[in-house]
């Protein structure tokens, strides 16, 4: 695996490999010294064109726990505000020879584009409303820890699907792992044609009881001013996940940050059914596994193969690329 651009590029085996690696790293988090030398001497560049605290800090922590060097580059307050294009910014930063670039932008496909412009491994940390693959991986990891296999499980993703990269990545990832996915939300926020991803579509929560897992999406306040929904009050009336709707056997997930009283009620967020903090914890170990997969997995054999062939070396360097 050279880049992580989209869940579409991952088959079930690849997802399971990352989950297994994340489980090994979970043990590191419990140590007194939370660090392994796996990526010592490697450089990870966080390039963020959108505000993000949890995703960025989670990537930063993941890289540091693997002993990589981390450089954070936020678009605000930088040359980007002076009108520099994405390509020029990436070419400029590539001069520092990062081994991986973690990229968050408001534009679909930006990560795939950047992967053609530079040698670094690209990790898509959110490209517009397209995908957020590490979120999906950490969600699968969280569920895997709780349930084991997801085969046959029913997962409802509820809310503003139209503007959610999390929804798109999760529909793909959950289905890859054998789950049945239903998306539900106001008709104005369910994109036409989304059912072709293989999921079911509902406009009410009448059948929510059929879900094993309920995944609530963040409802952004600006959606109201753009008249996607008449009011937050009406949205909450019809789509809020609350104690009345969530049954005792169901698990509640949310990508954060939570709007208490809008898409979820405070009581369910604080209930034992919510695994929201487990998701945050999973974020670090899953991102460690992703960085490890991209950087440690691929680099060493390449260094060997770059040299002139010497008897015996090929066998010694028999890594994944050999």
């Amino acid at each position: 695996m050279k880049h992580l651009l989209s869940i579409e590029d991952l088959d079930r085996a690849a997802i399971e490999r990352i989950i297994a690696q994340a489980e090994r790293f979970a043990e590191v988090a419990d140590r007194e010294i939370k660090k392994v030398p796996a990526l010592r001497g490697r450089m990870v560049l966080n390039l963020f064109y959108e505000a993000s605290t949890r995703t960025r800090s989670s990537f930063e922590l993941a890289a540091k726990r693997l002993s990589a060097d981390v450089v954070n580059f936020a678009a605000s307050g930088s040359s980007v505000e002076k009108g520099e294009s994405l390509k020029d910014t990436v070419l400029t930063l590539s001069a520092h020879k990062p081994d991986a670039i973690v990229l968050r932008t408001p534009w679909a496909g930006a990560s795939a584009l950047v992967s053609k412009w530079c040698d670094a491994a690209i990790v898509n940390a959110g490209d517009g409303k397209h995908e957020h693959p590490t979120q999906a991986l950490l969600d699968v990891y969280t569920l895997h820890r709780r349930f084991g296999r997801l085969d046959g499980a029913t997962i409802w993703i509820v809310g503003d699907v139209a503007h959610s990269r999390v929804a798109r990545s999760n529909v793909l990832a959950f289905q890859r792992m054998g789950a049945h996915v239903t998306i539900a939300g106001p008709p104005t926020l369910i994109p036409r044609g989304i059912e072709q991803l293989g999921c079911e579509v509902r406009y009410t929560l009448d059948e929510l009881a059929s879900a094993d897992i309920v995944y609530a999406l963040r409802m952004q306040h600006e959606r109201m001013s753009e008249t996607w929904v008449p009011s937050m009050r009406e949205y909450a009336t019809w789509y809020q996940i609350n104690a009345r709707r969530l049954t005792a056997r169901q698990v509640l997930m949310h990508p954060g940050p939570v709007n208490r009283g809008v898409e979820v009620s405070g009581e369910v967020v604080d209930s034992p059914q919510a695994v929201i903090t487990a998701q945050v914890e999973a974020g670090v170990v899953v991102r460690m596994a992703v960085l490890y997969e991209l950087l440690a997995g691929a680099r060493e054999p390449r260094a060997v193969s770059d040299r002139a062939p010497v008897a015996g070396v090929a066998a010694a360097g028999g890594g994944p690329l050999a």
């Binding site: 496909g109 994109p191 036409r192 044609g193």
Partner: protein, 448 residues
Amino acid sequence: MRSVDPLVSAAQRPAELLLRDVRVLDPRAGADARLDVRVSGGRIAELGEPGTVETGEQELVEGHGRLTLTPAFFDPHVHLRTPGQEHKEDLATGTRAAAAGGFGAVIAMPNTDPVLDSAPLLRSLRDAAAREARVPVGFLPAITRGLQGEQLTEMAELRQEGALGFTDDGVPVQSAGMLRKALQYQRLCGGVLALHEEDRTLSRGGAMNEGAVSAALGIAGIPTVAESTMVARDAALAGYEDARVHFQHLSCAASVDAVADAKARGWRVSAEVSPHHLMLTESDVRGMDTRMKMHPPLTTETDRHALIGALRAGTIDCVATDHAPHARDEKEVPFEQAPMGTTGLETAFAALYSGLVLPGILELGLLVERMTAGAALFDLPAPLLALGEPANIVLLDLDAEWIVGEHGWQSRSENCCFAGRRLQGRVLLTVAAGAVAHRDRALATVEL
């Protein structure tokens, strides 16, 4: 009301050519035969059985029956980006691209900077074309000042200065009341009103067709009803005012239905379709290649088939490229940030010949008819391959294969949706307004 020739190009030496044993194909003239064709003094001077026309001082091209001669194509919809955006295209490069694609004349759109909306600007553009244009160019000034949709341009004066008609292409007239006034005013000034149909309250924010692909990519979609409802509305307005309108770059089945309905009622409407809408679909947007981003967006396979059927049936009257050049750095950005448009002049014939004629979907004669029909829609004489007619001809090698872009571009821009494709059918020679406007490098290798 027109008082000057609406088409202008730089004066060039009249062609002196003998095209020996070429297949002459002109459905409008009822011609499909192997002939010798002599061009002299800018006119078709002689037509005769192969080997019967005497060689003179002219340049000789041996066709050996393998090369095809048709009327030069006519493109009623190009963006030459002049004035204001000459880094994308100018009159010289744009008309060179046209000639390379076999087009003998083109009509330029007014969404320039400043907008072509006044007689002085039209005069200066026509002066520039008289110095720089390789093939004749006609102009469609704006319907409303600054493309703002609020106040009519001085349409009567613009017509006197050579305007072929009017359009707010790119920033379409939203208000039915505004458009109705333009349709009424047409009784005074004449000229076709060419309409880019798009209800912006439906399309706003969208970057591609709305459907399964946009849903999967998380890119806001433009529903096809954004176009078709406006086609239906404006056809009804044209019918009510008995006005003449031309619908630009149709992209979907519903718009085809609306045009068919208008024609059945006897309303004076015509329509065009682009090679990219005939050849590509929203599936080609999956890779988020910005060359696949255009307005209207690429639609579904069902829509594509409806467009092909309408072109064959004549519901859609002609092909128009909507040649829309953009600089490389403007297109080398994420899909949602990229400007809309693809270049098309240099690939139109080969794309449609390869995609529609070779598989047997459309006959070559019909394709030639549809690629030349735009002239008559704008009240210009259709190019005719007949004795004594002005020489507006294109010589084609229908067997030649090439990879789009491999020889570079005549256009200043290279944002072509067909780039990298292997196509069949090559333009060898274009004669426009009686002068050689393009000569392909491969022509030298044809035995002279």
